[in-house]
Symmetry: C4
Subunit: 251 residues, 4 copies
């Protein structure tokens, strides 16, 4: 038993969608789901503890200890509602990954969810120019909807870890599964990619939120990266200046 579900609210409220992500490249999916949780003032409805996390306890800045756990929130957005699934890390244990996602999907099914989204990263390995959103799904009919929403469908490849399982295992419970992958360099936290993914999600699900917090996050990240780059180039210049004109010794 890898999934120990603890319901926080009395019963899980009805929901149209399950939207989930755990940390991955560029934190694209995780940041997007966290943004929805904050912007939609979502309520924590359940926690999932698992012995697949290392036996380790963390102490918060206020002194209280906590155990790592996955969380399921419930949110309303206009006439729509969604369960939001997130967690602190991927699990190394593959079997546990399957079981955690199975229990989340079971909960979603019980709540009336018919469509499951997982949000993830499409790693470019270089600075993206447009931050396109790619997508895949569990049925051909869903791909047409993705294309109409401006999402690029794929013709190969694989998705690793829990972000792949979330939407793909949905089909085993007769729910539709869609995965949206935002283009990102992969080597820095990319709030702009999260924003593009959320914009595609909005077109598909009707769940719309304000993105200004993601914009500020991206601006901050850009500033931090710029400062870091300047620091690096200053150091390189300095090291050029102090380099001896002549090599008197070999170190």
């Amino acid at each position: 038993m890898y999934a120990v579900v603890r319901k926080v609210s009395k019963g899980i409220p009805r929901a149209d969608f399950l939207i989930g992500a755990v940390p991955g490249a560029g934190q694209v999916g995780k940041l997007a789901v966290d943004h929805l949780i904050v912007e939609l003032r979502a309520d924590l409805v359940a926690e999932i503890y698992t012995p697949a996390f290392p036996p380790q306890i963390y102490i918060q800045s206020d002194g209280v200890a906590y155990m790592p756990r996955f969380q399921i929130y419930h949110a309303r957005a206009g006439s729509k509602s969604a369960l939001l699934f997130t967690g602190p890390a991927q699990l190394e244990n593959g079997e546990a990954s399957y079981e955690i996602i199975d229990s989340v999907l079971e909960m979603a099914k019980d709540a009336g969810v018919a469509e499951v989204y997982s949000l993830a990263a499409y790693i470019l390995g270089k600075e993206p120019t447009e931050r396109l959103v790619h997508g895949t799904a569990t049925r051909p009919e869903l791909l047409e909807r993705l294309r109409l929403a401006g999402v690029r469908t794929m013709d190969g490849g694989e998705i690793n870890g829990m972000n792949g399982l979330i939407f793909a295992m949905a089909s085993l419970k007769d729910m539709d599964g869609i995965c949206l992958l935002g283009e990102t360099a992969g080597y820095y936290v990319d709030a702009l990619s999260s924003k593009e993914v959320l914009k595609s999600l909005a077109k598909l699900s009707g769940i719309e939120v304000d993105y200004s917090r993601l914009d500020s996050l991206a601006a901050e990240a850009e500033k931090a990266i710029k400062a870091m780059m300047e620091e690096i180039s200053k150091k390189e210049e300095a090291s050029r200046d102090t380099r001896p004109g002549r090599m008197d010794y070999i170190s």
Copy 2:
């Protein structure tokens, strides 16, 4: 729980045999079962998902995502019927291997199967001349039937992985188990070996199919191998021609 069985049809139809193989050397068994599935226009009746596969999702060329899984088909061949078991890969997890096969055999038992065949490779490590079929079984009486069908019985050795478990574990459920192993070099996909195995299976079970598709597959493979060999020998010749007549240095 390593075996998550998902019945695709309503109930598993009655069957005389279970015939199974997962990928192994030369793809001998896998190719043979796949051939039966196509030629007998077999119906998918069940899928077996397992957390023993790495948590990874694959995207097909049409854009649809799928999870790796084992499959069970049902086919009729004249007055005979069979369940056909296959899958995308061996499992690294031994315990899961046992459990998957146990669930397949349970399903076969429920469908009335009394005889279980697994199809596999007999690795020669060199080009085979005759492509004999070797065999082993769970009862001495079955060996006599194998010999009458032209199958060479063995006097030692071991069979690794799920292809061994399929027929050997049959005896734990009071079914007969037979393994047919086709001679093959082991380092290329060998459709001719699959054909020989299927011919032995036909003599034993009465399930006969047309083999021309396997012949074409073998012809294509032969052409591809020949082309590759010529390419290699051309390159070797070319490299001989450009070699300096005199060695001026030692690299």
Copy 3:
């Protein structure tokens, strides 16, 4: 199933607290719980065997063989009562660690326990001057009680292994969890640190015992360490005396 519980007494008597520790740095927690077991003349009420220990049997000096196991004792101290949990070693298997602690907490819950303490070490990596006691808990309200008892609350960090799980998992069963960590160098058994932890525990729980046995233990340890240090410095002096006055060669 990693936890095989064997009740030694008929039923587990009622208790106010669960106090637990398994071996860790400086043996601070383990020594403290062992001290309580002896001083309070606690009764063994249950043992927990687990296949997560290596399959190994130990032979005592009296010739009797035993299996490694966790133990739960029951003790009365004035108007208070407690279950005391201890064991021979941390488990390498994280999943088993969770399961063992879960079964201990279940037993505690059934016995009416409302407050769970785990005793552990706060590693300084150098000789401590004051041997302060640090603490964390599962609710902010508990931290105030800790501060009033002179325990330093923390603002970060992590607690590894079963000593972290004991108190943190208590909250999953609606019990309060408190962890007391005694400052210690970390590289020798530290009975004085255990004493300080027990003094803090006494202020919080009202369970008071005589500490003279821990004082003698500390005095013995100090004597042993001193003797070892003198031995080392003697050897160093001796090696200085026999060192050649002049270096005739470089080795």
Copy 4:
């Protein structure tokens, strides 16, 4: 579930003792149990299959395939009766080891067994002179019986693997557990050590058999070892004779 028990006979007959061993150093215990099975014409009553064995099938010299498994036999010896447990190998998986032994002991308990013996090796690392039998047990009272039977009780050490679990876990089911360990060099199969262990077992349990087959086995082994030693010393002599009197080069 690591233990898949398959009863071969209808019900397990009543028994006074369980006597077990799996392969270990010098095959001392395994050989002893196998000897009892043959000499007492024991009946196979149950088999235990386990996914903890690697997924591998073996082919016998008669062509029949079989799966590795543990076996439980039943034997009568005068007024006494015993279950005899043996298997082809130790399991690498500790958890599975516990579970297999648990299921064997459960079966023994159901059959009325009150005393469990495991037979093992006491490794000397050099040629033994007397081949003493050492012993340990789960209760101090049993040690007195061991001493009266000429068995040397121990004052420390550990017993690894399933041979330790067999007798030690007996106490968890309220049966007595005794382990008899025969002195052996450890680097060759030692039928004489098995004989000594069986002689001690006879004194303790009243189960007596003829040992001449073990004597012949030991004589054969001795002859084989002697022949091997002579071969080695001949080769050494020969290599001395052909060694050049003068070294003309350094290789």
